[in-house]
């Protein structure tokens, strides 16, 4: 029986359906399958972005893009375990043995990285810092 002046502390915590979803450790997110992405993402193909897309031109452009992409991926594959010279920003040149790229081509995994301040046994090179790279096929 509650007496006058007694305080009652029986407040129930509000229920939640679940906790907010946290970041995916393997990806930077922005799910391309989400309705918002599908509706809003500007296609990166210039021809199809135009209001009147010429289907033949679109086909040609798409073909060219596929060829370039495949060639780039094959290049990355053939670089595995080879010595590669990287030309970086600030006039830095590095040599390393190429290992692999991550899925978004944000980082390259390399070994025996020769830097101006010494040799790093294992390293990650940030792709946005790379201007170009060369290697013997």
């Amino acid at each position: 029986m509650l007496l006058a002046g007694e305080t009652l502390n029986m407040a129930t915590p509000v229920s939640v359906l679940r906790l907010p979803k946290g970041p995916d450790p393997n990806s930077r997110g922005f799910d391309p399958k989400s309705p918002r992405f599908i509706a809003l993402c500007r296609t990166s193909i210039p021809t199809s972005a135009a209001s009147e897309a010429d289907p033949e031109q679109l086909q040609q452009e798409q073909h060219a893009r596929s060829v370039l992409r495949e060639s780039f991926l094959r290049c990355l594959l053939s670089m595995n375990s080879k010595k590669v010279q990287f030309h970086m920003h600030e006039k830095v040149k590095l040599e390393a043995t190429f290992g692999a790229s991550d899925i978004d081509v944000l980082n390259f995994q390399v070994s025996d990285l020769h830097t101006p301040i010494g040799v790093q046994k294992e390293a990650l090179i940030r792709c946005q810092d790379v201007i170009s790279f060369t290697f013997d096929v």
């Binding site: 129930t12 359906l17 309705p35």
Partner: protein
């Protein structure tokens, strides 16, 4: 129905939703407007990796990767298609907020602290430790930005006001200045005894919310006339006014969130939850929740009407014993409110 609201809050205890993922203090956060896909929240963090979240649930959507230093400021445009960030790597960046891709890097001469889009998203205002305000035309980013000088210390916050015709800036020189965008001249200055910790601009009603020391002050954003000042129990780092201007929330150095009645200035609630000082707090565009960012590296979402079904929160009747103690009129008012929500 004020009485029903009291019955509900008497019965229910606030359950904040914790958004984890950042590894260092969260120093800034911003909501977008309401879009056909809901509304969104961006958080700036000293770990250099600002994150985008769904506003009503706190669900992570993506991380903007590219900055090489602490991110001090972050903002979204109204329809959440673009994001902008200000960082210690001396750059401000503009991002596609749908794909997460970096669109522009704007080099500065010192740490950038604050970024703000105009309503049409065509211009970006930046400010930072070089004491200059810069206006970038995003349709012509190669062009040199317009520069406004005047502050004598690092700028911590800059924003557009008066339909993007004017600019408000707060700096470590203990002033807040109002500038005319077309003339680039200073229109008015507010001087304080201590550094202003935060500034929020409420478009509808042209109200400026400023925090300094333990005070939360409300000004008319056009005239910079003081409307009212409210004192909090602790040093406040950030405050936000509810869209309907009936409440405001504040957080600061004692790790707590405070909720005040804007009309009466009365402190209504205080909530513990964070494990470090609160650096930023903002109401969502629909006013149903507010988000806080803390030194503890988390964001927390708090309900405005505790116990209401919204987002991830679910309204459930309180336990039997408490229910039995309420008078029948209270109980029927509670049921009416539950049906209303």
């Amino acid at each position: 129905n004020y009485i029903s609201y009291n019955v509900l809050t008497m019965a229910m205890r606030q359950t904040p939703l914790t958004c984890s993922g950042h590894t260092r203090p969260v120093v800034d956060l911003a909501f977008s407007g309401i879009t056909p896909y809901g509304y969104f929240l961006i958080s700036a963090c000293k770990d250099g990796k600002p994150m985008l979240r769904q506003g009503d649930t706190g669900d992570w959507i993506g991380t903007f990767l590219g900055h090489k230093g602490a991110v001090w400021g972050a903002t979204l445009n109204t329809d959440a298609t673009k994001a902008a960030t200000a960082a210690a790597d001396f750059t401000a960046k503009v991002w596609d907020a749908v794909s997460g891709d970096e669109v522009l890097t704007l080099a500065h001469k010192h740490i950038v602290k604050t970024v703000s889009f105009t309503q049409d998203s065509n211009c970006l205002l930046t400010g930072g430790n070089d004491k200059l305000l810069r206006i970038y035309d995003l349709s012509n980013p190669e062009a040199a930005p317009q520069e406004i000088s005047g502050h004598t210390s690092a700028i911590k916050k800059a924003l557009w006001c008066n339909n993007d015709k004017q600019i408000l800036s707060a700096a470590d020189d203990k002033t807040i200045r109002l500038w005319d965008r077309s003339s680039m001249e200073e229109v008015k200055t507010l001087k304080f005894d201590t550094s202003v910790s935060s500034m929020e601009y409420v478009t509808d009603g042209e109200i400026l919310v400023i925090t300094y020391g333990k005070s939360i002050a409300f000004y008319n954003a056009l005239s910079l006339d003081l409307i009212k000042t409210v004192e909090a129990p602790a040093t406040i780092n950030s405050a936000s006014l509810h869209p309907e201007k009936d409440f405001f929330v504040a957080g600061g150095e004692d790790f707590k969130l405070y909720k005040f009645d804007y009309g009466t200035k009365e402190e209504l609630e205080s909530y513990k939850g964070h494990f470090g000082p609160v650096h930023c707090v903002r109401f969502s565009p629909d006013g149903e929740l507010y988000a806080s960012g803390s030194e503890d590296g988390t964001l927390r979402l708090w309900q405005t009407a505790v116990g209401k079904t919204y987002g991830l929160w679910k309204c459930v009747l309180p336990g039997n014993s408490l229910w039995a103690l309420l008078s029948s009129s209270c109980r029927s008012q509670y049921c009416n409110l539950k049906h209303a929500v």
